[in-house]
Symmetry: C2
Subunit: 467 residues, 2 copies
Amino acid sequence: MTSDLHLDTGEVALLTDLYQLTMAASYLEHGFNEPACFSLSVRRLPPRRGYLVAAGTERFFEAVEALRFDAQALEYLESLKLFKPQFLDYLSRFRFTGAIRAMPEGAIFFAEEPILEVDAPMIEAQMLETLAINQVGVATMIASKAARCYHAAAGRRLIEFGLRRCHGADAGLVAARSSYLAGFNGTANVLAGKRYGIPVYGTMAHSYVMAHDRERDAFADFVRSFPKLSTLLVDTYDTLKGTENAAQVALELKPSGAELIGVRLDSGDLGDLSKRARKTLDARGLGQTSIFASGNLDEYAIAELVRGKAPIDAFGVGTAMVTSADAPSLDLTYKLVEYKGRPRVKTSRNKLTLPGRKQVFRAWSRAGAPYRDLIGLVEESPATVAREFKPTPDRVTELLVARMRGGARIEPNPTLAQARELFLEGFAKLDSPLKALERPELYKVRYTAALGAMQVAEKLKVAERQR
Amino acid sequence: MTSDLHLDTGEVALLTDLYQLTMAASYLEHGFNEPACFSLSVRRLPPRRGYLVAAGTERFFEAVEALRFDAQALEYLESLKLFKPQFLDYLSRFRFTGAIRAMPEGAIFFAEEPILEVDAPMIEAQMLETLAINQVGVATMIASKAARCYHAAAGRRLIEFGLRRCHGADAGLVAARSSYLAGFNGTANVLAGKRYGIPVYGTMAHSYVMAHDRERDAFADFVRSFPKLSTLLVDTYDTLKGTENAAQVALELKPSGAELIGVRLDSGDLGDLSKRARKTLDARGLGQTSIFASGNLDEYAIAELVRGKAPIDAFGVGTAMVTSADAPSLDLTYKLVEYKGRPRVKTSRNKLTLPGRKQVFRAWSRAGAPYRDLIGLVEESPATVAREFKPTPDRVTELLVARMRGGARIEPNPTLAQARELFLEGFAKLDSPLKALERPELYKVRYTAALGAMQVAEKLKVAERQR
């Protein structure tokens, strides 16, 4: 038995906009299938964001590798009476054969910088657009929001708690994966635990307490079931009485070997309640029992609690982070930048794009911090670009690396743990003012002289051609 | 070959919060598995919303019917070293055996009203929580946002264009389905077309134009490929010149039988550009060619264009609608309302819940408009509740109907087309002030005397018991 949450392999190929297929059909018909390059980038940073965290590319590559049109997909497309047999035949043999250069997951990046570039025959490259934006967009958006929470928590633990508020099943997996990548310690999402090896955590719901006649009975039952792993939710009726009840149960069951891991506060003034709960627990000799806080938390609320020295050991973060509530989409575009070896731009009002196959060069200070990026052309190198940075950099690195070739991922595939390491290291090096939650300092991103010149030249050529 | 976008049946069972499983294990161990009732409702309406549109329940029911823990799922759970063999054994035989009463998809509803109620043994009912909120939440949120666009468009056609900005694969399907349900005419999402029979539409992307040396060549190629179905994107370089080019191509290819269906404007001042494009087309005898507008549209922008009499025939709506950008989550809760035949409430600060198994009664005026709802108990009936409405209603209807029994859906399963009809009919009857985009009039929802009395009584009992 299956359900609508299930996606067959052939269905992923149809998870696209119809125009990708009509354009592909027209390209095929008119012999437009020479090498093309498309570039995926964020046009501008969302409000209050000083940086973004790359995520979602590895899941995207995996889906691209597997992309096939199966018999059912072809049958449906035929039923639309839009497509000629030659095109359906082409689709039946379709597979991605191109190359992709991409930033590693966990990389910190900025507006206009390509997250990835696809080099492939026109039709194949065009057909990846919708899936690329759909997958990389949500994953990067959530990783970037999670990084802000990680920064605000200043070393306290963070658990992703938002599966129920995620936009569907797939978003639930993405939220757990992206937040773990960006410094969270675990998730409540069991499937994400299974798929990605993310540590899973859980406490209890109000309904568990409500199902029992007395809160204390609920707590005792739960601690008996999980003597070493109980975190008790104490706010179903009254947070402080609940904490008292939890403490009493912990003391009563101590002789049987039970330990109360924590109490969870899920409503009210978390700063004040956590201080009072801490006192209650300490007074009962439960100094080891930690305080877990949840309930409408985001980076701002976490920062406020940390500033107020709330004795909270771990935060459960849900809705605001998993939906990136203050910026629930990324302005991600997938633009044709080269066709048949010739650069391409789009010039419509306020939307001049960056032509050419590109690389992102990052300058590092002697102190080991990145201080400026130059978006350049793929033919340029750190050595040639170094002199365009001022002050002279200690070293220049390239952000885009080859990740797919001939339609297959280039081994070894980085693990989620490696991506998380990369994020943690990179984030630690980033200057503090760039990480500010409000009005972050703007990181400087410019174009290399070569790219700038190409953009000007291409704009003129377009004006010439369209006359 | 499969990908991470694929969900196996056994995986859907793990798409849950860990605490659902730890609570279930504890319930099983302590014999807490008597009949329970949980109620799914929205605590308060999002900002500026005057109503919500029920959606996502049928997909949820389908997933619930199929819910199983397979060998891999059990193996993973065992590896967590949290659960005893008895519980894993229980899960290996798990299937939902309960009943669900729900509003039909497409129903208009309000805060606090149960969208659905689950009647099942405690463990089964509890285990549906995360999936219920995850699925019904996003679907209802998007349907409700789409209904606002439908209202604003005042009869003009609407196409869902947002797959790339949806939060992942599943959200893409939900967005297409929910928006069609709430009055949209189609989607660009091909998979949604295949799955749900939603009409699919597409135009072309800027890259198609950019791949050609001249815009006019691109247009001619496309019209030759789709002589009866071309909508040309005219704003890659300059919208009005683009419209001229489209018109010329249409006239040149007319002798070959080609017809230009439409032009699409995707940037700039859509009101002004649409008027000038209309003039250009009309002057060329292309009065039948329609104007399609897209680009950062939401209900407010659509209303503004309609007010300004922009000659736009159809709107493509994406990001703002599919992410419900101004309210990207619903405050949906799944609360225990009865256990072992006894009502339950949660009383923590500002969060007194509604106890008991419920029904929603709606009063209709003689003119055929709904004017007030009473949330009551399932034992009450329209006849007994009628006298509590003032003025006396022409008729009283019940919103919750039986949809699952013994773990299976009750046939016939309504189709998406039927749900859309239900929405369109219900929405037409709703008083205009309730539909206002800003400061909508508040529809009156109260409790029946019986429910009100039960809530007070239960609150006192809780206080008594916790003392």
